[in-house]
Every structure is written in structure tokens, then in C-alpha cells.
């Protein structure tokens, strides 16, 4: 109970110390602080989780009320239920492993302290986001992780491209955040509170299923979730965000921050249940995103971009789960995805680290024997990603697909789409494995990963394998779909599809039974490949639809009327300053005169008023 407040405090304190050291802290100490603080948080989370698993009691803790003016009483308060416990465990557990890994990965970087300061700040903000008992505090964490993401994507800021990627990530998510903030304002005006539990109660009592207001409010919240979780149409920032260091991609852009949107919807699921159209939109957005990202991942060359599109696609599955009402399955997939995607990113980071920062998969190859630990990690991660039977991803993805199937009406369509996505996942993930680790070598590794990197990889391997057997404490916290009575044919198809994907990948990229080159050389193949490689030209589309018109407008309106007003305000202020300052002559007699003048003025006002 009392350890709750320590959980976000450790990383926050460590971040403060690291910032105050201004980069002068010795590396050993910075590493100890950076990883140790997250480790301490993880221990506290474990204690809290043990208590929760034992008695199932929701824990609440109000630290203090920021201010109380009339009815507006924003509190710094935590609310811990099963959902929060799962999220906290993922954040601190996976977070600790990634911090450990980072020590080795960034040891030679000159900004070692800065890196850990940002990372710890991120962990603190993310914990705040999931622990908050009211939406305002959640929003603070939400913006906090956004800011940290910006800082970490642009971590190597000397390359202007990285700065541009960071800006893009920030601006695109900002669009969603604005929608979300409007949603919060709407909820506050309509229901008079932002505390999540009273808010849900008020919504349930004041609104009917299908009313306009809950639809509008949830649509605005969905806007925030779509931006943060990189779903259509706001997904374009995530592939570019790979400009940051690889452990950052593992922690922020795979395991935790990008799943915040999923958390937001799950946390407010009662609100979403009042708005069936929004829920349907969630499902369709998820489906469209997972297919689009799946196709795009097929055509990429950059190892991290493939993983980025894969992340977008997997979060699409989570959205699909939320949309069909299988909230617990969505969170289950969130957790298993955190394990195997963090594993994949860290393994990819190890490859990049050992191959002098090589990102292009076609210049890798044959690494199976040269980097065995990394190979096995990558293999296990890909198996879980493709949902091969008995890996963690299998259980969570299967639950999602079957839940989609049971939805009356659109259910089978969603199921079929999800199945196609699963096929694509199988193909692109094993394409990556076969090209990078099999075949002939193009680049020789110059070093082997050390114990910190290997250790983190091995623990994540185990988690990716057995993570599907964890029973999440979500019963009674989140509703789920019952899919025990689905026919066996559907189940077999769901299980078989990823294996089919694996087979296709084998035929295309390893066995060479079908020549991928001739496919790609044909005019249609080439056009399709280019189309997918560019991410369905969505970046170009946005550039043409939004960025260019905006720039044009900005150019035309360089001296716009609105600006004229503000410029006039500035000029007026300057002019008024100039006039007023002439009164400050420094002459005593004038000052005394002004006293008399003021008195006369007051008298005049008063006497005129009296008469």
C-alpha cells in the first residue's frame, strides 16, 4: 500500500539526479542509477502485484490535491487494479531489461548520462500514465511520454534527419493529443469530473447506449489513442521514429508508449461500450492498419523499419480486439507483444551493434553461426510474432481472432481480415529471419554481444515462449469474449495460417523454389513493391494533401490579417511604452506635480459622481 508512491518516484529521482549531474557523472554510476532505479521500481511493482493477486483488492492512494478551487480538484492519486498491475509489470519488467541492455549498447556514446536521464523520465511518465486515477493526471503522463519520445527519437541530434523524425513524431501525435484533450474537456463539462471511476459511473447513469455525446467523447479519445498508438491515419510517424537508438525503439516504440492508446481505451471501456459506432470504428481502424502495415513490412529493406511496421500491425490486432469487445484479449496481446517485440528489437539492435551500424538486411546474411545467441533470440521472437503454436503470441492472437469470429454480423469479415494479416505476419517475419541469418554472409560481425545484452535477450526469450501461459488478473476488471464454442474448423484455420506464411517465406526466400527476383522484376511486381515500400505512398499523400497546402497558405499569408493584428499590438505596446517613458523625467518637481495631478483627478471623478 505504502510502496505505491515509490514506484514512479525511483525513476523520477534518478532522472533528476542524472540531469543535475549535467553529464559529468561517471558512466558506472549513471548506469547503476539508470538501470537500478527501474529495477527498484520493478521490485515494488512485484510486491504490489503479489498483494493484488493474493486478495484482488483495488488499491487507491491519494498523494495530494494540487489545488482545490470550487469543484475543480485535480488530485495526484493512483488507482491500482488488475489492468494497472499488468501494465506496471510490463513497463518496469521489460523496461529494466532494456535499461540493462542499453548500458552495453550505449557505453561508448558521449551522451550516456543524458540517455539514461531521458529513459528514466520516460519510465516515470509512463508509470504515471497507467497509475493515474483521473484523466488529467493520465494526460500529464501522456504528454510526458510524448515529450520523452521526442527527446529520444532525436537523441543523436547532430544529424538533422533525426531531428526531423523527432519533430514528425511529436507533431503527428500532437494531432491526436489535441483531439484527446478536447475529449477530456467535453467529459468534464458534461459529467463534472475527470476521476475515472466516478466518471464511468456518471456516464452509465446519465447516458444511454448510442447517445450522441458518448459517441463524440469516445471518438475524440480514440483520436488520441490513434495518434499515440500509430494507427491509421496517424501511423506515419512510427517508421521514422526508428531514428532513435534501438533500445529506445524497443521500450518506447514497441513495448510501452505506443500501446498507451490501447490502455486508454481499455481503461475507459465502459464509456466505449456506450458508443457502439466508435467501437466498430476501433475494430475497422485496427483491421485496416494491420493489413496495410503487413503489406508494407513485406517490401522494406531496413531491419528496424520492418519491425516498426510489424509493431503498427500488431497494435492493429490489439485495436481489433478492443473493437470486438475482447478487452482482456487486447491487453493480453499487449503484454505478449511487449515481450516478443522488445526481444526482436533488442536482437536487431545486437545485429546492428555487431555489424558497424548496418541496417540493410540485404547486406547481412549468414549470421546464424556467427551470432548464435542473437539468432536464437530472433528465431524465437519471430515465431512468437508470427504466432506459431505454443509461443506466447499464438495464445494472444488466437484469442483475438476467435473473439472476432464470434461477433455477430461483421465478425467473420474481421476474422478473415485478421487471418490475412496473420499470413502476412508469417511471411514478413520469416523473410527477415531467412535473409539475415541464413544464406551467405555479406558483412562480418566485429564483436559478440556481452553478458548484459545476452542476458536481457535470454530472459526475453523465455518470456516470449512462456508468456502465453500467464493468467492475467483481468477477470472482473475488463470484459472478454467467450470463444469456447467456436467450431474446430475455424480454430484449425487460425492455427494453420501462420504456418502457411512460414512455408511461403521458406519457398520464396530460403528454398528459392519460387524465384522472388523474377516476381519483383515483372512490371506489376515492381510497381507493387515500390508502392508497398513507400508505405502505400501515404507520406506522399499527406505531403500533397496537408503539408504542401499548409506551406503554400503560410507563404501566401506571410503578412496575413491575423498577424497584422498582433504586429499592431506589438507596435502599439512599443509606442505606448515610448510615450509613457517620457513621463519618467527624473525631475522631482514634475513627480510632485503628478501627485497633485492625481489628487485632482480623483477629486474630479468623485465630485462629478456625487453631484
Amino acid at each position: 500500500m505504502t510502496t505505491l508512491w515509490l514506484i514512479p518516484l525511483f525513476p523520477l529521482l534518478s532522472a533528476t539526479l542524472l540531469v543535475l549531474s549535467a553529464g559529468r557523472m561517471p558512466r558506472q554510476l549513471a548506469a547503476l542509477l539508470g538501470a537500478g532505479s527501474v529495477g527498484l521500481s520493478a521490485i515494488c511493482v512485484a510486491l504490489v502485484a503479489r498483494t493484488y493477486l493474493a486478495d484482488g483488492q483495488v488499491q487507491e492512494l491519494t498523494l495530494w490535491t494540487w489545488m482545490a478551487v470550487d469543484n475543480f480538484t485535480p488530485r495526484i492519486a493512483f488507482y491500482i487494479d488488475g489492468l494497472t498491475v499488468v501494465m506496471m509489470s510490463v513497463i518496469t519488467g521489460v523496461g529494466f531489461l532494456i535499461h540493462l541492455y542499453s548500458i552495453e549498447f550505449l557505453w561508448d556514446d558521449e551522451s550516456f548520462c543524458r540517455y539514461f536521464a531521458y529513459m528514466n523520465l520516460f519510465v516515470a511518465a509512463m508509470l504515471l500514465l497507467v497509475m493515474a486515477d483521473n484523466l488529467l493526471l493520465l494526460y500529464l503522463g501522456w504528454e510526458g511520454v510524448g515529450a520523452c519520445s521526442y527527446l529520444l527519437v532525436g537523441f543523436w541530434y547532430r544529424d538533422p534527419d533525426n531531428g526531423a523524425a523527432a519533430r514528425k513524431a511529436f507533431v503527428v501525435t500532437r494531432v491526436g493529443d489535441t483531439a484527446m484533450f478536447l475529449g477530456l474537456l467535453l467529459l468534464y463539462t458534461e459529467l463534472g469530473t475527470l476521476d475515472i471511476q466516478p466518471l464511468m459511473a456518471a456516464a452509465n447513469s446519465q447516458w444511454q447506449v448510442g447517445d450522441t455525446l458518448p459517441i463524440l467523447a469516445t471518438a475524440l479519445l480514440l483520436g488520441g489513442a490513434v495518434g499515440k498508438s500509430a494507427q491509421l491515419p496517424l501511423h506515419t510517424w512510427l517508421p521514422d521514429a526508428m531514428a532513435g537508438p534501438t533500445p529506445v525503439s524497443a521500450l518506447i516504440h514497441a513495448a510501452t508508449m505506443v500501446t498507451a492508446g490501447v490502455y486508454l481505451i481499455a481503461r475507459n471501456y465502459e464509456l466505449f461500450l456506450l458508443a457502439p459506432p466508435t467501437l466498430a470504428a476501433v475494430a475497422w481502424i485496427g483491421l485496416a492498419t494491420l493489413l496495410l502495415a503487413g503489406f508494407t513490412a513485406l517490401a522494406q529493406h531496413d531491419i528496424k523499419r520492418i519491425l516498426a511496421y510489424s509493431t503498427i500491425s500488431q497494435i492493429g490486432y490489439m485495436f481489433l480486439a478492443l473493437g470486438v469487445g475482447a478487452f482482456a484479449s487486447g491487453i493480453f496481446h499487449l503484454m505478449t507483444h511487449a515481450f516478443f517485440k522488445a526481444l526482436l528489437f533488442l536482437a536487431a539492435g545486437a545485429v546492428i551493434h555487431c555489424l558497424h551500424h548496418e541496417h540493410n538486411i540485404f547486406r547481412m546474411g549468414g549470421l546464424r553461426r556467427r551470432l548464435p545467441v542473437v539468432f536464437w533470440s530472433f528465431l524465437i521472437g519471430s515465431a512468437a510474432l508470427a504466432a506459431l503454436p505454443f509461443t506466447s503470441g499464438f495464445y494472444s492472437k488466437d484469442a483475438i481472432l476467435l473473439s472476432a469470429w464470434t461477433l455477430p454480423g461483421i465478425g467473420p469479415w474481421l476474422w478473415a481480415g485478421g487471418l490475412l494479416g496473420a499470413l502476412l505476419t508469417g511471411i514478413y517475419s520469416f523473410r527477415l529471419v531467412f535473409i539475415v541469418f541464413f544464406g551467405e554472409a555479406h558483412t562480418e560481425p566485429d564483436q559478440q554481444p556481452g553478458w548484459r545484452m545476452s542476458g536481457a535477450l535470454i530472459v526475453l526469450c523465455v518470456l516470449s515462449l512462456v508468456g502465453g501461459w500467464f493468467a492475467l488478473p483481468l477477470a472482473g476488471v475488463l470484459p472478454d469474449k467467450d470463444h469456447a464454442h467456436v467450431s474446430h474448423a475455424v480454430e484449425f484455420i487460425s492455427i494453420g495460417t501462420p504456418l502457411l506464411g512460414l512455408l511461403i517465406a521458406y519457398l520464396l526466400f530460403l528454398g528459392r523454389q519460387v524465384s522472388i527476383a523474377s516476381l519483383a522484376e515483372s512490371p506489376w511486381g515492381k510497381a507493387l513493391q515500390d508502392f508497398w515500400y513507400s508505405g502505400w505512398r501515404i507520406d506522399k499523400l499527406y505531403d500533397a494533401l496537408l503539408v504542401q497546402p499548409f506551406k503554400c497558405l503560410a507563404h501566401w499569408w506571410r503578412n496575413e490579417p491575423v498577424d497584422l493584428f498582433y504586429n499592431a499590438l506589438v507596435a502599439l505596446s512599443r509606442w505606448a511604452h515610448g510615450r509613457l517613458i517620457t513621463l519618467q523625467t527624473g525631475e522631482l518637481r514634475w513627480y510632485a506635480t503628478s501627485l497633485v495631478f492625481g489628487l485632482v483627478l480623483l477629486l474630479a471623478i468623485m465630485l462629478r459622481n456625487a453631484s
Binding site: 495530494w64 490535491t65 494540487w66 489545488m67 482545490a68 478551487v69 470550487d70 505596446s573 512599443r574 505606448a576 511604452h577 509613457l580 517613458i581 513621463l583 519618467q584 527624473g586 522631482l588 514634475w590 513627480y591 510632485a592 503628478s594 501627485l595 495631478f597 492625481g598 489628487l599 483627478l601 480623483l602 477629486l603 471623478i605 468623485m606 465630485l607 459622481n609 456625487a610
Partner: protein, 481 residues
């Protein structure tokens, strides 16, 4: 006088006794450190005795003074402000004055004057407190004798402040002639039954207002402010801007509340009118200042303008508690912030006798050279600008709230406009502080004593705490009002 009476007056008695002890000490041993230590000790004792006095509050002692929680709260504030000023002054006055010991004696007396103002429920005690405060300040302003500027400032302040006091005195005399009483409450009751014409009352009120408005440097009585602030030694400017103004404001607020002057719409409207003028003129005048002291002088005019909104908000009587709460919070926040800002100026020019003012470029890159001092100024500027998580934000929010519930839309609009202009010149200081400089432009590092460092830390922590956890102070204010 009973024991309870003495207990109620104990803060004043401690300060007066401390002044006597100090005088004796100076007569026998001349030592700046000892005098400063004694001063701080006395003020701390006086602040502690307020807690003691609060046990029997409210209690009226003689018709002149009333010890209630409101008065005691401000006594604590003034004593802390005085102690902080004394701590900051030590190095400064040692380098700028020849015989620095009496400086602390005068500081103690002016703090006593401020406390008397907080206690005053009678015109006589109000004037006594006011003069005790002002006369000590004349001498304090002129104290550094190695430069001509302080003398000029003191002379200007002496003449103008004297004239203002005389005007206020004349005004009170007229009110006395009309009502036959000098007690605030009785004065309020007699106003309606007076035999003399209404014009006498109006003239009296206008003159009182002029006198007190001058001390608060409301526009159009503000012209002296930048010259005096600029010439006065930096710690005294801080004291003048914070404690002295807060004391006059408290006395004025109490006069209005006790005599219920809010019934007279025209009086309140005049305060609103002057508030608007002050907010606008103060911010506009500060806009392009490069001399930080003058900039802060103009900013203090604007801040008093913000505070005067309270009077308009008090028109509806059910809004009065919220408004007094807001005023008290604002004064606490503003005092802490102002002392922090001037504290920095004090520390920067403590060892440089030849430097008479601090220009913006003198603090260029301060943040990188001396993070503690930079942090102090940063927090002070953000708080003055009213940026969230600082004391200034909560204070401004409070005023805002009071104005909203009093429906004072014009004042509110001016407040927003003024704050907007203010952000420009406050953040410009931050901009200068965080610039990275070429080696040859770098200003010398200043030596800061350990107690000044400790005080800076306390001020930073205090301003941030008031901004992040204002609830405890708010709850306390609510309980005593």
C-alpha cells in the same frame, strides 16, 4: 494592560526590544556579523511569538491595535521578509557602507512599522506604523555612502513620500472633522450620519487614497518608483517592493473591510480604475527596460494593479472571504518572489561598489556559470510571469477566480492583457541568463556566502512548493478568514 494584552502584542514587543538590544550592542561592540545574527534572531523570535499570540487571537489591545489571525499572519510574513533581507544584506552593506551596523537597526524598525500596520485598526496607529516604516526607509535607501545615486533616491523618496503622508493626514483630519472618530469601525458607522456636507467626506477620502496610493505606487502616483528602486541598495529595494507595499496594502484592505467602505460604489470603482491604469502602465513601462531593477520596479506597479482587483471583487459581500483569501495568498507569493528576484541582484553586486545597476547583459549566461543563482532568478521570473507550478501562478489564478466570481470582466481582461505583455519581459531575462557566451564576454563569477546559498535554496523550494502544493496554505487561510 493584562498579561493577555502583552501576549497579543508580543511580536511588536519583541521587535521593539530587539531594536533596543541592537542599539546597545552597537554602542559596545561593532561587528556586522553579530548585528546581522542578532537581527535575524530577533525577527525569528518575533515570528515565533506570533504563534504564541495566535492562541488568544482575536483580541483588541487599546483602541489602536487588534491582534487577530489576519494581522499575525502578515506579521510572520513581514518578519520572515525582514530576516531574509538582513541575511542577504550582510555582504552587500559591508562593501557599500562605511558603518554597516546601524543598517540592521533601521531594518528592524521598519519591519516593526510594517507589523504595526498589520495590527492597525485606528487611524493613529495606521499613521504611526506608516511613518515608522517610511522614515526608516529614507535612511535605509541613503545608506550606501560610496555613490551618489542612493542619496538622490532617498531625497526624492523623502520629499514625495512626506508629501503623500501629509496628504493622507489631511484627508484623515477631514474625515475626523466629519465623523468625530478615528477608529475604522466607528468611522464607517458615522459616515452616514455626518452633519458636514458630503463633499468634505469625498475630499477626505480622495486625499487618503492619494496618500496610500502613492505608497503603493499606483498609477498615476507611480512616477517615483523606478528612480527610487533603481537608486536604493538592492536588498532595500526588495524590502520596499515586498514588505513595505504588502503592509500598506493590508492596512488599506482592513480600513475598507472594517469601515465597510465597499458600500460606496464610487470608492471601489476608483480602485478598479487605478488598478486598470496600473496594470497597463506598469507592464508597458517595463516592456523595453534593460535595467533589471527598473524593470522590476515597473513590474511591481503592475503587480499592485493585479492586487487592487481584490477591492472590486469585494463589492458583493459574499465574495469577500474568497477575495481576502486571494489577497493574502497573493501577498505571500509575491513577497517570496520579489525577495528572490532582488536577492539575486543583491548577490550579484554585493562585492562591486562601482556597479550601480544591473543590466540584462550583466547576467548573460548566468545559468551556466552559477546554476544556483540562475535557478533562483529563473524561478522568480517564472513566478512573476505566473507560469504554472510556481507560486505566482496559483496567486494569479486565485485573483482570477476572485474576479470571475465578482463578475469584474473589464479588470479580468486587463489582467490577461497585462500578463501577456509581462511574459515578454520576464522571459527575456531568462533568455539572457541561458545564453552561451564567447569567452571574452563572460562576466566574472560572484562569490556567494554559504548562508546566502542556503537562503536561495529555501526561496526556490518555497516558491515551487507554494506552486505545487498550495493546499495547506489555502486551507489555513480559509480557516482564519
Amino acid at each position: 494592560m493584562t498579561v493577555a494584552d502583552f501576549q497579543a502584542l508580543s511580536p511588536l514587543l519583541v521587535l521593539a526590544g530587539g531594536a533596543t538590544v541592537l542599539m546597545l550592542q552597537i554602542a559596545f561592540v561593532r561587528s556586522v556579523s553579530l548585528t546581522a545574527a542578532l537581527t535575524v534572531l530577533t525577527m525569528a523570535l518575533a515570528a515565533l511569538s506570533c504563534v504564541h499570540a495566535a492562541q488568544i487571537a482575536p483580541l483588541q489591545v487599546t483602541p489602536l491595535l487588534q491582534a487577530d489571525s489576519f494581522a499575525l499572519l502578515f506579521c510572520v510574513l513581514f518578519c520572515i521578509g525582514g530576516a531574509a533581507t538582513a541575511l542577504l544584506s550582510q555582504d552587500y552593506i559591508r562593501h557599500h557602507g562605511d558603518e554597516p551596523e546601524e543598517y540592521f537597526l533601521l531594518l528592524m524598525l521598519s519591519t516593526l512599522g510594517a507589523c504595526v500596520l498589520a495590527y492597525a485598526v485606528h487611524v493613529a496607529s495606521l499613521l504611526l506604523g506608516l511613518e515608522l516604516l517610511s522614515v526608516s526607509l529614507y535612511a535605509l535607501i541613503a545608506y550606501p555612502n560610496k555613490s551618489i545615486l542612493p542619496l538622490e533616491a532617498a531625497a526624492k523618496y523623502l520629499v514625495l513620500s512626506g508629501a503623500a503622508s501629509a496628504t493622507a493626514l489631511f484627508g484623515f483630519a477631514l474625515l475626523y472633522a466629519a465623523t468625530g472618530t478615528l477608529e475604522f469601525t466607528a468611522l464607517g458607522q458615522q459616515l452616514d450620519n455626518t452633519q458636514m456636507g458630503q463633499s468634505v467626506l469625498l475630499v477626505g477620502a480622495a486625499m487618503v487614497f492619494t496618500g496610500l496610493g502613492f505608497k503603493l505606487s499606483l498609477v498615476p502616483f507611480h512616477l517615483w518608483t523606478p528612480d527610487v528602486y533603481d537608486g536604493a541598495p538592492a536588498p532595500i529595494t526588495g524590502f520596499l517592493a515586498s514588505v513595505a507595499k504588502a503592509a500598506v496594502f493590508v492596512a488599506l484592505l482592513r480600513l475598507f473591510l472594517d469601515a465597510d467602505l465597499f458600500r460606496y460604489r464610487i470608492l471601489v470603482e476608483i480602485t478598479g480604475f487605478l488598478a486598470i491604469l496600473s496594470m497597463l502602465a506598469g507592464n508597458l513601462l517595463a516592456l523595453l527596460q534593460t535595467n533589471i531593477k527598473r524593470m522590476l520596479a515597473y513590474s511591481s506597479i503592475a503587480h499592485i494593479g493585479y492586487l487592487m482587483i481584490i477591492f472590486m471583487a469585494c463589492i458583493t459581500s459574499d465574495n469577500r472571504n474568497l477575495a481576502s483569501e486571494a489577497a493574502a495568498y497573493y501577498l505571500v507569493a509575491y513577497t517570496a518572489t520579489t525577495i528572490a528576484a532582488f536577492g539575486l541582484l543583491t548577490l550579484i553586486c554585493a562585492h562591486q561598489v562601482e556597479r550601480e545597476n544591473v543590466e540584462l547583459h550583466h547576467i548573460s549566461g548566468l545559468f551556466w556559470r552559477q546554476p544556483l543563482l540562475g535557478g533562483l532568478m529563473l524561478v522568480a521570473m517564472l513566478s512573476l510571469a505566473g507560469i504554472p507550478l510556481t507560486a505566482g501562478f496559483v496567486a494569479k489564478f486565485y485573483i482570477f477566480n476572485a474576479a470571475v466570481s465578482g463578475h469584474n470582466w473589464v479588470l479580468l481582461a486587463t489582467l490577461i492583457l497585462g500578463s501577456g505583455i509581462g511574459i515578454y519581459y520576464y522571459l527575456r531575462v531568462v533568455y539572457y541568463m541561458t545564453r552561451r557566451l564567447e569567452q571574452h564576454h563572460v562576466q566574472p563569477t560572484v562569490v556567494v556566502s554559504w548562508h546566502a546559498k542556503a537562503l536561495s535554496c529555501i526561496l526556490i523550494a518555497g516558491i515551487l512548493l507554494l506552486g505545487t502544493m498550495p493546499q495547506s496554505l489555502m486551507a489555513y487561510l480559509r480557516s482564519i478568514l
